[in-house]
């Protein structure tokens, strides 16, 4: 979550779900919380019972809207315009929380005069390189900041970004935690506050209404509700889910909400914050302890091939002089000791020279591109169903057909395992079973009830689940599979003299096993994650104990302390009725069991609660105390001023609550760490029937596009042929199904409750396209066509944007060709143009066409799709040459 990371310092929800009951106003946007996080939604209902305003902003009227006090319908893909309008409303009316903004955010910081705003460059920021299609973010810096590091570091060339960048932001040139130049009165024309004001000045209520398709009154209602319910006495919260993230500007959606919450002073305070609602049981955990290409546990960066330098350069480039990232080396060395034990020594640079290197993008969609070119030979899929869950399912199935071998591990035979004999491409003849050379292993997996382990939930809480029954026959946990696989590979390579095998031989791979199947002990793995002192074997009680000399081992520094005192803290199950509402003795939250991040901000600069009503953590004259573990050094007084030469956390002043940031402040403006700009800007989705009213730059210029023949795009606004794909399409989830369906379409009750793929359309669209309620519709894009039952409903009304009315089509995305409830996959329609920061697909706003009736079968299906695509292409060829919407010279 680089958006939350760059803004606040850590990539996690800033608040916990139960605390929503203390909110005075909750805005749910990019989420259908009542249906997709129903049990968490009880805390929103508690707040409403206490008189809070609950506002749902969404293209669809859902059960969340029904339970809210207000629903505002907007066009899918227009959220930055809406939120930017709120920023503008706050700034134009002086409604920001002044003391909070001045002391706790980077509003006073003066930015280098190389920075030029999108307002001046017609939709581009300074530093745009049209050849490379990238920004040079050095033009966005704080004034007076030194060029990045010393000569050696420049050779290293490492520019921290994405997940890791937010964790400190690497404040090169920041002295003692203070930015080099600032204007405490917020008047300097180049201070962040004034830049922000100018950047959003055109986001007026009228522009918001025109872009989002809502009324001026509805927009003002939301802006006023937020402003009125923030300040010393009141707090407001935002809840979001993948309705915000799955866009080509997804990270910037969340960044805009982060700006609103900073201006209103709602971070680090009870009932405030930004609650990221994650969709999988441990999706937060699988980012913290990543199965992601670009990071190692605790958001430590994987070394880049391109920027290779020695260990010292790598350390220098990643160690922040100030803030908690000042201890980067301690986190790194402790991880290497956990991975390689006595083989990692200071003399061999903790094995740094042997670690694998990554490229700029080796994410899942990039891998798919390589697969389609035949460059990927083997693929292991464990607990994911990409041919249904990922954008452009057809491209994924074609990719799998080019592998030498594929391993699929799941509880049922999902579509990813059966692509070679049961898939739309087999049906259409585009793939023939006998011609597919992929060797496929399907290994049955164990369920959570058949293994011990911890999930990290949406509020950073590690909760242990105990094994209830033994897995049957060949069913095994992933812990078993990877442990024994590693053991067998190590055995095969134990006598190898090859250089490439040295790291495998050095790998610490001893875990106690139990039961007849030799299941490894999950608690032993958790203990390694938490860490110990190597000499004494003492378990660590937290990351402040980590050392950079090889005397501590720790598998994930932010999780350090979860096995404190040799006790599984994640397995603590003290009932809530025996504790405060914060429930600090139920499970364990990272970091250091804190439930509200940056909670020092719940007190004023002097350390007193902002108000009695919003009291949470405060300074009692001797130390920080309150309802939660203070997110601050316990005895650092509020008037602490860092002495000259102070480093790491010692360089953070007593009134700066954002301890992971180099300057101890939250970042309204992100000078470094994001690919597509220091401030969020409204761009249209990659595929949109509308142009951008703000700039001639239509879509995010930095969005990650591909050249794959398997992934053509629909023509967009202004291009001939766009009228063949005239509607906005968005995907979503249902209460009764989970993601790509492997865990729910296999369950009889759930398959019965939601038995078939359907599409939601308005009565107006039904009339226009000739659709009948309960009948069939064919929905198509340049990628594919699918069929769905028609649900005609007022819940997804037409919208009027720039004076033009159009329709939105809603598609649940759970279905695939197999299991108890089967149907066409919504994601087959979707393209693979990505957000540049996190490489996520834009499935929440694209374009489509819709017709009555079932889709063509067999080879008629690809012919149908190609027919419309070629028709669009022909119109483009014969149309008078217009300037393409995106490709243009820049004055930057």
């Amino acid at each position: 979550m680089p958006s939350l990371g760059t803004s606040f310092g850590r990539g996690g929800a800033t608040d916990f779900q139960q605390d929503l009951q203390n909110s005075d106003c909750i805005v749910i946007m990019g989420s259908n919380m009542a249906e997709n996080h129903p049990v968490g939604f009880q805390w929103v209902m508690e707040a409403r019972e206490r008189g809070a305003k609950v506002i749902h902003v969404d293209p669809r009227f859902t059960r969340t809207s029904a339970m809210a006090t207000k629903w505002v319908g907007i066009r899918a893909g227009s959220d930055i315009a809406f939120l930017g309008g709120i920023v503008n409303y706050i700034l134009q009316n002086d409604l920001h929380f002044e003391e909070y903004v001045k002391h706790y955010t980077n509003a006073p910081v003066i930015i280098e005069d190389t920075y030029v705003d999108t307002e001046e460059l017609d939709g581009l920021f300074a530093g745009w390189d049209p050849e490379e299609g990238k920004y040079d973010s050095s033009q966005w810096r704080y004034e007076g900041m030194e060029t990045h590091g010393a000569a050696g570091q420049r050779e290293e060339g490492f520019s921290p970004k994405g997940e890791q960048s937010g964790h400190g932001g690497h404040g090169g040139g920041l002295h003692h935690g203070e930015p080099p130049s600032e204007d405490p009165d917020l008047r300097h024309p180049r201070c962040v506050f004034q830049i922000l004001k100018r950047h959003y000045q055109r986001y007026t209520p009228e522009l918001v209404a025109d872009t989002c398709g809502c009324s001026v009154e509805d927009f003002l209602y939301v802006a006023e509700a937020l402003a009125q319910n923030s300040g010393r006495e009141r707090t407001s919260a935002f809840c979001y889910a993948v309705g915000w993230t799955q866009h080509t500007v997804g990270v910037q959606y969340i960044r805009t909400a982060a700006i609103v919450q900073q201006l209103l002073g709602n971070i680090g305070r009870p009932g405030g914050g930004i609650v990221a609602l994650r969709g999988h049981a441990s999706i937060q955990g699988s980012t913290d302890i990543p199965t992601l290409f670009n990071i190692l546990p605790g958001y430590l960066p994987m070394p880049h091939a391109e920027y290779y330098g020695g260990f010292d350069n790598f350390m220098a480039a990643n160690t922040s002089p100030t803030g908690w990232w000042g201890h980067f080396k301690a986190y790194w060395v402790s991880l290497m000791k956990a991975y390689f034990g006595e083989h990692a020594t200071e003399d061999n640079s903790w094995l740094f020279p042997r670690l694998p290197r990554i490229d700029e993008d080796n994410s899942a969609y990039w891998t798919l591109g390589q697969m389609l070119e035949g460059k990927v030979k083997g693929y292991v899929v464990a607990g994911e169903n990409p041919v249904v869950g990922n954008a452009n399912g057809k491209a994924h199935r074609l990719g799998l057909s080019k592998l030498d071998w594929l391993v699929v591990r799941d509880v049922v035979e999902i579509e990813t395992a059966s692509f070679w004999y049961d898939s739309p491409e087999i049906e259409s003849g585009e793939l023939k079973t006998g011609e597919i050379g992929t060797e496929v292993f399907f290994l049955p997996a164990a369920t959570h009830t058949e293994k011990d382990g911890s999930f990290t939930n949406t509020q950073r809480l590690l909760q242990w689940h105990w094994q209830a029954t033994e897995p049957k026959l060949d069913c095994r946990s992933e812990l078993w599979f990877y442990f024994h696989l590693g053991r067998m590979i190590k055995q095969r390579l134990q006598d190898s003299e090859e250089e490439r095998d040295a790291l495998v031989k050095a790998l610490r791979w001893e875990y106690p096993t139990h039961s007849q199947i030799q299941e490894p002990s999950a608690e032993a793995v958790l203990a390694e994650i938490s860490g110990w002192e190597i000499g004494s074997g003492t378990f660590l009680d937290g990351y402040p104990k980590l050392r950079d000399d090889g005397s501590t081992a720790c598998g994930c520094w932010i999780y350090s302390g979860v096995y404190k005192d040799g006790i599984n803290q994640a397995a603590r199950k003290r009932p809530h009725w025996e504790q405060t509402y914060v429930a600090p003795e139920w499970a364990w939250a990272w970091p250091d069991n804190r439930r509200i991040l940056y909670n020092r901000a719940s007190a004023d600069p002097d350390g007193n609660p902002w108000s009695e009503r919003k009291k949470f953590v405060w300074w009692n004259g001797e130390k920080w105390t309150g309802l939660d573990t203070p997110d601050f050094e316990e005895t650092k007084p509020p008037d602490y001023v860092p002495p000259d030469g102070a480093e790491a956390e010692d360089a953070i002043a007593g009134d700066h609550p954002f301890v992971m940031q180099a300057d101890g402040r939250s970042w309204l403006y992100v000078p470094q760490g994001l690919e597509d700009g220091p401030l969020p800007t409204h761009y249209e989705p990659h595929e949109s029937p509308f142009g951008n009213t703000l700039y001639s730059q239509r879509a995010n210029p930095r969005r990650q596009q591909n050249q794959l023949a398997e992934d053509p795009s629909n023509p967009v606004d202004g291009e001939p042929g766009a009228e063949l794909y005239p509607y906005v399409v968005t995907t979503y989830r249902l209460t009764e199904h989970h993601t790509a369906g492997g865990m729910t379409r296999s369950v009889p009750y759930l398959a019965e409750l939601q038995p078939a793929m359907f599409c939601e359309v308005s009565p107006e669209l039904a009339a226009e396209a000739g659709l009948e309620h309960g009948g069939w519709a064919t929905i198509y894009s340049a990628r594919s066509a699918i069929e769905a039952r028609v649900l005609v409903t007022d819940r997804i009304p037409p919208i009027t944007v720039h004076g033009r009315t159009t329709h939105q089509v809603g598609l649940p995305y759970h279905w695939g060709s197999r299991l108890l409830s089967s149907g066409d996959s919504a994601n087959d329609l979707m393209h693979m143009t990505l957000d540049p920061n996190v490489h996520i697909q834009e499935v929440k706003a694209a374009t489509c066409g819709i017709r009555p009736g079932r889709r063509p079968r067999g080879k008629a299906l690809p012919e149908f799709v190609a027919g419309i695509r070629e028709q669009a292409h022909a119109r483009r060829e014969t149309a008078p040459k217009a300037e393409p919407a995106d490709v243009r010279e820049t004055t930057a």
Partner: protein, 189 residues
């Protein structure tokens, strides 16, 4: 007497006699329903667990008898869920006992037309061989510019957001040591 007995066998009389007009108490029990006990009472043990679906993290109580799950319900002790579960969470028993659940390894040979049986041990050996061979054949010690690479770009691994932290930890640890960098999951943001 016989009439009194006959009358007493009529539940509505018992309902009136026992002050249970809505028929919610013992008044409406039959011989059979009197002998029934809740599944949870017969469980041999109860395990505290966490729901495997979304990331709310609801507490679950898993009841077990004879090595089989007999019931799954919300854990009232959880401060997050306070005993509640959504339709998915409530269906957890059916998920673990799905009629479609696979219990045996299935193998499809290259160009094959059907699944074949394969022993788990043999499958593990074959997968270990495939990784070792593919890795050796595609090893990239250096990049094209001659910089250290230490990796294979021919193997990828996908999945993690539904798995345990401990499992993700072992995956990343093992694959990093093997030089497999294309490790990805559902959590891209």
């Amino acid at each position: 007497m016989a009439l009194a007995k006959l009358l007493a066998s009529w539940p509505v009389v018992r309902q009136l006699q026992q002050g249970d007009p809505l028929g919610l108490g013992p008044a409406v029990q039959s011989r059979r329903s009197r002998s029934l006990v809740p599944r949870v009472d017969e469980a041999e043990h109860v395990v505290q667990s966490i729901c495997p679906y979304c990331a709310v993290g609801c507490g679950q109580l898993v009841y077990v008898k004879d090595g089989e799950i007999t019931h799954v319900e919300g854990d009232p002790a959880s401060p997050i869920s306070r005993g509640r579960l959504c339709p998915k969470g409530q269906a957890t028993k059916s998920y673990a006992q799905s009629p479609l659940r696979e219990y045996k390894v299935k193998y499809r040979r290259p160009y094959g037309n059907a699944w074949e049986e394969l022993e788990l041990d043999a499958a593990m050996e074959m997968i270990a061989d495939r990784i070792v061979e593919t890795r050796a054949a595609t090893w990239q010690a250096k990049t094209e510019e001659g910089k250290p690479a230490n990796r294979t770009m021919a193997i990828g691994n996908l999945g993690g957001a539904t798995l345990d932290n401990e499992e993700n930890y072992l995956i990343k640890k093992l694959l990093t040591a093997l030089g497999i960098v294309q490790v990805e999951n559902q959590a891209r943001i």
